[in-house]
């Protein structure tokens, strides 16, 4: 018997409903006119849309670049370079997001594009590292038997290495998403917009309702994305 609502849709539905509830409630029950202006539908949707755009654009770029460069570095010829990059990446990840933003701001100025670029840079790291590690850690005997049976390096990559590294790559993407969502809220500091605008405005004007709305929507977005990626992972990995 098929379930009416597949179980993995329950959480997203709840999250989205909660988001709508918050948006509708705050828009209709502002504590004063200042809040009413800040939490107008237009304003909230603009912030949400910017927030999503920041994340989606930077994540898409980071996944493409991170996975591709992870694959390249895992090729035997570039293996040692890969190890070096892996170490640099590990160090890079310990730099706080705000410092990255500040650094970029100094070097390259402000704006939405700048914010996307900063998020992109920051999200590449875990994806690249996990792609590299996931491929490198496939058991040598598996690769050897594939090679010995006449699979080409490209076939081995697409049929063996990537599928086996897949869970680890997805874990990297999940980490990137979590970082990305947290950092996206800071895009406002370099004029990137997003839900951070609400939070910062709320803080500077001392309106808790605005802070809460911005923070809650950012949190819901984060949980939703993490869940979706988790489902993708589960759906594609049937073995083990």
């Amino acid at each position: 018997m098929k379930r009416l609502i597949p179980i993995n849709l329950v959480l997203p539905v709840i999250l989205i409903a909660l988001g709508i509830l918050i948006v509708v409630y705050t828009a209709n029950n502002p504590t004063d006119s200042l809040v009413a202006r800040m939490l107008s539908y237009t304003n909230m949707f603009k912030a949400l849309r910017e927030h999503f755009m920041l994340m989606v654009v930077s994540m898409t770029g980071a996944i493409i670049v991170g996975v591709l460069s992870g694959i390249m570095l895992s090729r035997p010829k570039l293996y040692y370079l890969g190890r070096v990059v892996e170490n640099i990446v590990n160090i890079g990840q310990t730099v706080p997001p705000l410092a990255v933003l500040a650094l970029l701001f100094v070097i390259m100025g402000i704006g939405f594009r700048m914010a996307v670029f900063a998020l992109f840079l920051y999200s590449i790291l875990p994806i690249l590292r996990n792609t590299f590690a996931g491929i490198i850690n496939v058991q040598p005997s598996i690769i050897e038997s594939a090679k010995g049976m006449g699979m080409s390096p490209f076939r081995i990559l697409t049929r063996i290495e990537l599928p086996l590294a897949f869970p680890i790559i997805v874990a990297g993407i999940r980490t990137a998403v979590v970082i990305n969502v947290g950092t996206a809220a800071m895009a406002t500091f370099i004029g990137g917009g997003g839900l951070g605008d609400l939070i910062v405005a709320g803080i500077s004007l001392g309106r808790e309702m605005v802070i809460f709305t911005g923070a809650a929507l950012a949190a819901l977005t984060a949980i939703l994305l993490d869940h979706v990626i988790g489902q993708v992972e589960k759906g594609l990995v049937r073995w083990s």
Partner: protein, 370 residues
């Protein structure tokens, strides 16, 4: 079929070559076993045949073709390959695993499916049960079988096997070895088989190359290896009980013709003639056959002395220690020990009398070349 000429392999950073100017020829349909202590270059030698390793110098021919000039991918598609770690793909079902080479060769789906099922059945795995399972749901022995099935599914004429039964317990190993020999009898592939276990080498090999420090010390049949080891090293490798091991290798048929003994008697012979024959015999008994040479039984000196009968038929009795020509000398020895007698009668499948083998004959065989 497979020919290595002056093959040398030096790995960067190693002072001595892993394989050192090695020549080897494997006949079509033979199992050639490379045996020797760990690190002597067995695996390296084997892996040069399908170009997992490139030789530093020398030539390799497979079916007369220069392997080093072939496209390595094409070459490997036609050579079965089994390694000790098996290397099954954990993210693929057993069916997908076994279908690896057919898929690389772009076989039509039905042909692949049919061949995969046939192969799994051949190695003793029911396709209905195992096709959809993942390797993690299989025992060690079952995984080995899948590994062998995967290597043989497109029926390649040549197989390379690196310690294929190395990772399982001794009982499972013996079973896999026997099954493998049974399959090999049917398919007659040309096989290069690597092991460090001399007993496995003797059991599986038609020819055995004993290796030491990248060189072949002796290349011989198992029997030759046991009867006349080329030097101290080989003698130590095959061990002290090589006489017993040889008994495993020689079939009764092979020595029967070389043994001169008076033939059997028939029941209608006069008792006196039978008595004379028994007196001449070294086992103090005579075998009785009918006129079609069918084995009937035995008359011994002791019965004849009792003097209670008139014709041979009154003295004949059944014999327990019977054995076929295809049995090994070791089987003959086992029967003798079990029955507490120093001889055993040899018959064919349809009870035709072939002769007798005595403990003395076995000793002679063992002594001959020791």
């Amino acid at each position: 079929m497979i020919k290595l000429e002056g093959i040398t392999k030096k790995f960067p950073g190693l002072k001595t070559p892993a394989v050192d100017n090695l020549d080897l020829e494997v006949k079509e349909g033979d199992v050639c076993v490379l045996v020797g202590p760990s690190g002597c270059g067995k695996t390296t030698t084997m892996k040069m045949i399908n170009r997992i390793h490139e030789p530093t110098s020398g030539h390799i021919y497979v079916n007369g073709k220069n392997v080093l000039k072939m496209n390595p991918i094409k070459l490997r598609l036609d050579i079965g390959y089994v390694i000790q770690e098996i290397g099954l793909f954990p993210h693929q079902t057993i069916e997908e695993n076994v279908a690896t080479v057919p898929n690389e060769k772009k076989w039509p789906r039905e042909k692949t499916k049919q061949q995969v099922d046939e192969m799994l059945t051949l190695v003793g795995l029911d396709p209905k049960i195992y096709c959809r399972r993942y390797p993690s749901a299989l025992s060690g022995g079952q995984r080995q079988r899948v590994g062998v099935a995967r290597a043989m599914v497109t029926n390649p004429p040549i197989m390379l096997m690196d310690e294929p039964f190395g990772a399982v317990d001794p009982i499972t190993r013996a079973r896999l070895q026997n099954e493998f020999l049974r399959i090999q009898e049917r398919v007659s592939k040309t096989i290069v088989f690597v092991t460090h276990d001399i007993d496995e080498a003797i059991k599986m090999g038609d020819a055995i190359a004993v290796m030491r420090e990248g060189k072949i010390v002796q290349y011989a049949t198992p029997n030759e290896l046991l009867s006349s080891p080329a030097n101290e090293f080989v003698a130590n490798l095959v061990g002290r009980n090589r006489s017993i091991k040889r008994l495993h290798l020689i079939r009764i048929r092979e020595i029967l013709n070389g043994i001169a003994r008076p033939g059997p008697a028939t029941l209608d012979m006069p008792l006196d003639d039978i008595r004379k024959q028994i007196e001449k015999s070294d086992i103090r008994a005579v075998m009785i056959v009918d006129h079609d040479n069918k084995f009937k039984g035995i008359i011994g000196m002791n019965e004849l002395k009792k003097n209670t009968g008139e014709t041979a038929a009154d003295y004949i009795h059944e014999l327990n220690q019977l054995i076929t020509e295809d049995a090994t000398l070791n089987d003959a020895l086992s029967v003798m020990l079990e029955c507490g007698e120093g001889y055993v009668a040899v018959v064919s499948e349809n009870d035709q009398y072939r002769g007798i083998i005595t403990l003395g004959d076995l000793l002679n065989v063992v002594k001959e070349e020791a």
